[in-house]
Subunit: 262 residues, 3 copies
Amino acid sequence: MSLITLTTDFGYADWFVGSMKGVIANINPKASIIDITHGIPAGDIRAGGFALMAACRFFPPKTIHVAVVDPGVGTKRAAIAVETGRFVFVGPDNGLLSWALRDESIKRIHRLENRKFFLPELSNTFHGRDLFAPVAAHLSRRIKLTELGPKQSNLIRLPWPERRRFKDAIEGEVLYIDHFGNAITNISSTDLADSDSAKLNVRVNTHIISGLSRSYQDGSTDAPLAIISSSGFLEIAINGASAAAELGLQIGTPVRVSTAMK
Amino acid sequence: MSLITLTTDFGYADWFVGSMKGVIANINPKASIIDITHGIPAGDIRAGGFALMAACRFFPPKTIHVAVVDPGVGTKRAAIAVETGRFVFVGPDNGLLSWALRDESIKRIHRLENRKFFLPELSNTFHGRDLFAPVAAHLSRRIKLTELGPKQSNLIRLPWPERRRFKDAIEGEVLYIDHFGNAITNISSTDLADSDSAKLNVRVNTHIISGLSRSYQDGSTDAPLAIISSSGFLEIAINGASAAAELGLQIGTPVRVSTAMK
Amino acid sequence: MSLITLTTDFGYADWFVGSMKGVIANINPKASIIDITHGIPAGDIRAGGFALMAACRFFPPKTIHVAVVDPGVGTKRAAIAVETGRFVFVGPDNGLLSWALRDESIKRIHRLENRKFFLPELSNTFHGRDLFAPVAAHLSRRIKLTELGPKQSNLIRLPWPERRRFKDAIEGEVLYIDHFGNAITNISSTDLADSDSAKLNVRVNTHIISGLSRSYQDGSTDAPLAIISSSGFLEIAINGASAAAELGLQIGTPVRVSTAMK
């Protein structure tokens, strides 16, 4: 229980992430710290939640996952730690943790209120450094969640954009666009498990993609393709180019899959 | 004394930072390395100095802080190590370290001239890799500063832009703009300690901000706000947007605070 | 043999690099991981190959260098591990490793086919996480290359753009442009060893640069200069500005050096 991950929108230009790591090293020099990403768009709780969900399960049991995308920092929004069967999650109670928790069995949720585990001076603008980092460092030294503050029975859930199922089709939307310009949707591989992947049609904006590709180089260059992404969701991509830019895809763009039974 | 931090303008696109870490690992495999940031704008000594100042104090005692923003690399500018009551700072003697040292008690300054502690081949363009990284790694193995080269009595100081105090006002300027677009000024929380924070007026360009906010969400969306930043200075921000972009703020933009006694 | 480096085009915006590190930590919690860079342009095998070549030799013996710029992921392109006198290299067999291997004595090459060392579920789009990271982690626990899969006698070589030598001139081209806008060519310091560096003329596009500079500040601001870069190649730079932007340099732009014997 000495591995801590960080997922934030603090970027790479400033000293914010470095300060968090300094605080952790000060409290537990033996903690290992791994960055999931600090490139979440400013204040984008959905993107942060998706990144945390996609990455967290690849870490060892007992990993402490700290996520800070926190537009409400300094307000009355709660700060929480959530212990699950595998991990501990630490962050603001603003929905950021909730998508990662869809796959977890929650054991307990505690509010972070015991100032003994904060930095002595708590700013109103940087709880990543003053609150979440020190709490995570103390957790990595095996304090118990019960010491952190009162128990809470639930947490704020970010709505998961549900796909709609029709007789011969599934309608979903673009959930995340990665830095390659690949557009990841909310339609999962499980949703498509019973369909014939060669006979699928994917419609997005005015484009129709026929069949699921097995790899990015499966299709011709420049042609949009549909593929099961490494996060387990249907993804729209173009070999060697940005599908988002070429096809005008944004978060929320509708995606319709016409299915045909195997 | 085996924690080394790095603050540079080497960016994230190339292999420069990785090479520095390889050099350190080669000399002291047990050293821990933490990035403060490598996103300092190219050659911007002030931005690098501000980042180092803002972050360094959150690290454990004995941390070795290496900073390399070094437009004069390969010229006769000196390279130095500075031991203070808490830390060791390593970098070019071009002002980069001086803002961080404002809060430190300097014990000794030594020039880095003993080539025994450099890489065998010293390039003229990358002292981060060939000089500063190996020196820091050797320091983390507890060699003494006296072994590095001759003592130096002082270092080059970057002028600190002083704010001007009037009877009912303080005039300062924008010192740093972070990746959220928040503009940090040289007016400190101490400067404002005796004023009534609700009755302050902050004027920047043509905008007037009334009162200090307690959090970014204190005001309405889209309205500029003034807040004490996590680095202890007055900051101009906009909830959910870039104050720098919206208000046309740049490094050096004047900021005037009209104060009213408590 | 517990240090692993990573060189990829996965960027900093998403969770991809973090996932790879989680996989490694899961298999070998004691492995140290150092990022060479994740900022390689998407799919740019040459840029990735150059970065790996420039950085790898600064790492300790036995370092495991993992590189993933892999547009052919999920196709029949092979994945390989290459043991040399100093290091182990792991990556797709698409030329990416070949420039780094120009300076190495290759002992053996094995294809990565033993699924025992992959993640249980192998995606078709993210072998960095599912194949290369776990293989590297197992290698850091000292499994032998022979366990990974069948031996292979050679690997795919990226053509090295050869410079042409004339009686009084050398013609080469721009190989890499770094984030400062410095343009690194394929003309090495060895190529110029017999020439008088003060009497060289470098012609690039319509610009002529007279003599080699010793440092970036050697010339006047705004004037293009030629210098031996820290990677050992002739570099075109401008003090305090981007030579690539100012001079219109791109990968492949021809560079001609008129030499004069010492």
